[in-house]
């Protein structure tokens, strides 16, 4: 085997490649800004963003804001997972309910739900509850739809195996339907949690309250571009944490696929 083939087949190569690609992208953006192809008053230089990190940590309290937003995202994730999966199961169990509401749920999934934040402000007030409920509302529909899709897509033969072993309805659900539907349910959860996070940060920004969204709003108002982009990196970090958590949970619930 050649040396190149050995390297590409090594376990750490994908990680090296992904970090290398990111570094190459950052260097390229830096160069394009320095030579004037990209306007430095619209996109700050990556080197400036990196140097803004200590400042936003010390002066803007970005770590506590990160945990505030992560806490909101976590709360919304729990609600989205519980109510979304339960909703999908209900629609699967009751055909009439499914026929009556599936189109509506699909329409809600495609709607720009962030526009209802004034209503939530009236109902819940200008506080974290409004932000969490906005995240929950935005993330719910994809989870319901994907749960329904996963349960409906369970292969008939697996259901028949369960029937042939005389399983009760509860056993049929927990031993066959649910594990069979898990991969699709997790696709829904990932989508739902992305929608939830976008709305959480978006509403923080809009109502100027809470964690990273508020900080981004304030930094943008001050035209502190480097600080704004550095804060956006923390939003990406929340997203990465949510993704890693769902991936771990999926591997724990269904170790192979």
């Amino acid at each position: 085997m050649s040396a190149a083939a050995t390297i590409t087949k090594s376990r750490g190569f994908p990680l090296v490649l992904s970090v290398g690609a990111l570094v190459a992208f950052i260097v390229m953006v830096e160069l394009l800004i320095r030579v004037g192809v990209i306007n430095r008053f619209i996109v700050p230089m990556p080197s400036e963003i990196i140097s803004a990190f200590p400042r936003i940590v010390q002066e803007e309290g970005v770590i506590s804001r990160f945990f505030f937003t992560a806490g909101e995202a976590f709360s919304a994730s729990i609600l989205v997972s519980l109510f979304g999966v339960a909703g999908g199961v209900l629609l699967y169990q009751f055909r009439l309910l499914r026929r009556a509401t599936e189109t509506w749920v699909a329409a809600v999934a495609a709607a720009p739900l962030v526009l209802i934040y004034p209503l939530y402000l009236v109902i819940f007030g200008r506080n974290a509850t409004t932000i969490v409920m906005m995240g929950f509302t935005a993330g719910l529909a994809p989870v319901i739809l994907k749960t329904l899709e996963g349960l409906s897509g369970t292969r008939r033969v697996l259901i028949n195996v369960g029937r042939s072993f005389n399983l009760t309805s509860s056993q049929q659900f927990w031993k066959i339907l649910f594990p069979a539907a898990l991969p699709t349910i997790f696709v829904g959860l990932r989508l739902g949690l992305i929608f939830a996070l976008i709305n959480i940060v978006g509403v923080e920004f809009l109502i100027n309250f809470g964690g990273l969204g508020q900080l981004i709003n304030e930094l943008a108002e001050r035209y502190d571009l480097a600080g704004t982009y550095a804060a956006i990196c923390f939003v990406i970090l929340v997203s990465v944490c949510v993704f890693m958590l769902t991936e771990r949970l999926e591997r724990w619930l269904r170790p192979v696929d």
Binding site: R155, V157, L158, N160, V161, R163, S164, F165, N166, L167, Q171, K175, I176, P179, A180, L182, R254, P255, V256, D257
Partner: protein
Amino acid sequence: MAAVTLPSERGAGAPGAKPQDAILVVDGISKQFETPEGVVRALDNVSLTVAPGEFVGVIGPSGCGKSTLFNIIGGLLDGYDGSVRVAGEPVRGPHPSIGMIFQEESTFPWRTVLDNVAFPLEIAGVPRAERYDKARHFVSLVGLDGFERRYPAELSGGMRQRVSMARTLAASPKIMLMDEPFASLDEQTRLLLGDKVLQIQQELKQTTLLITHNITEAVQLSDRVLVMTYRPGKMKRMVDIRLPRPRTSEVVSSEAFGRYVAQIWSDLREEASRGMRDDEARQRTEHK
């Protein structure tokens, strides 16, 4: 190779069973389906008895209602005329005495081989240590030692069907129903798996009803073969397979085996042709 006994020389008693001795009695089963094209009569007055320890094959052309019969006996289909009894008990739904092996791949992809096989024992509430001991026994019986911790995705099609078989056997059914379990496998794997089924049947004296459209498989494995007509599925002929046991796949090269295959094919040919003509006529109508 084992010596082949010709039909007239067979010393063992006839494998047919009187209803009172039979473990499975299928009595006058008729079934029809409502379709957009009208009522389709799938089965018409099918009767069958299976004695304890007997291996009975059911063969017929596509569309003869073999799988409908499988689902009715397994308790997965209702709304039919006639009755099914297992050890004297009427079957009105899935019955603990009946184990089913399906044509499609039916292992649980999220469970290891051992967990798949232990599944019916887990449902029955067998304590963990005991159920894994039993599951290991059945994994070994189907020849999958060393694969206990593998997932189905890591196995070949033939190995997965053996996992399904071990899982069904772990439930200790009185009757094992098999619906074309090797249909998706190549001919050589099918013959070798036939050997495994013969070996298991020999070891456990497992009463088995095999639904198949493969004549070689039916003759290789069965004590009797029920030949069915094309739609509506009716009993055309019951053929006693008087080949000696224990058998292996080597029996396929014997003269008597060839004669049984020819005999069943002569019965099936007319039915298969009828089915083909029917299909062609349907295709023409659909594409007009």
